[in-house]
Amino acid sequence: MIDKTFASPDDALHDVADGATIMFGGFVSAGTPSNLILALQRRGTRDITGIANNIGLGDLLDVLCEKRQLAKFIATFAVRASGARKSLFEEQYARGEVALELVPQGTFVERIRAAGAGLGGVLTRVGLGTMVEEGKRTINIDGADYLLELPLRADFAFIKAYRADRMGNLAYRMAGRNFNPAMATAADVVIAEVEQIVEPGGIDPESVGTPGVYVDRVVRCDPVPVRWYG
């Protein structure tokens, strides 16, 4: 019998080692694997390369800065142009203590999808003529230039879904999908935090957002309360 369930977030993270590259699903408050992030903080793993859409915007990832667990972050939104408040990440970034690679959001998810889909790269016009094109190859097709964007993979993906079965099938809820389905395809070990676990068949086959083949570990957790990030 296939059984991918784990008893606790801490158990599910048992082999996350220093230096790991970790993807985190979530968009601000939506679909964020908060319990896994808190377990990663407890675990104290260091020199992490983090990959997430955002950090320090109602996503709990900023807690990984409390003990300087992050060496690098790849994100689309991490440093605010307005200085109204500063996250720990922003402070550490300003002091040069953590590296940051900013990626346009559509390119970010497309690179992750490419890794999961076995593509060698994708061509996009997004970023042409901007700082984003620095260091990248340009491919010309019929007179039009495109940036060659390469796949983005990780050792681990921490994702959040609403419901799972023991086979790892996941169902999402509303805008909680976001980067979770793509990240589930692009990491060696995929760990999913969910609010409910049901028997196989308890998720309508039409409503499976991530088929179980992509998920290695499932852990049921009560959601961490989050406030409106306004």
């Binding site: 408050s29 142009a81 922003e90 900013l102 346009p104 003529g129 984003v132 999908r177 976001n178 306004g230």
Partner: protein, 218 residues
Amino acid sequence: MAGLSRELIALRVARELREGMVVNLGIGLPTLVSSFLPPGAEILLQAEDGILGYGAISEQDFDPDLINAGGQPVTLLPGASFFDSAASFAMIRGGHVDVAVLGGLEVSERGDLANWYLPERGGGSIGGAMDLACGARRVIVAMTHTAREDRPRIRTRCAYPLTAPACVDLIITDLAVIEVRPEGLLLTEVAPGVDAAFVQARTEPELRLSPDLREMEL
């Protein structure tokens, strides 16, 4: 002081929107546009985090999984749908969003947009701005006409790092409505109490005046 409030800029932007359009509203001022949509018209608001067809911002119930791209709680309209980020940006990049309303730090006379990075603060983030600027069929920039000390935001060339080159179609500010045309910038409307000379004095490149130049209807 002359010029529209943020709310009136948003109202003027909303006048550009028609039934059936798919519209993405950027963070900040553009978000206000959702309060001024033409009543009864079915306009589909798209949020990068994977919603098509959201409605008003909800001040009461906060559901962490039902937010717009700015993290604000929203409501759903009948006919809404959810999808993941890959699908959301396929929609944006693939030209399926009719109008993106974006904030701006600077716009150049050929329609280059800079809106993501403030060098003097050493900070900024891209988010979905580059994808929207490249992918939306029509890009409207909504911003104040000038920065501090009346420094023009509409420039011959942008000094700030670009979001995308030659992407802006229409600029709507507290002072004016300006179209980006192949032959240059065309001033089509001025705010109440403002004239073309006042706008030109606060704009770096030369503006051509539309033969139909008129005061904004608000």
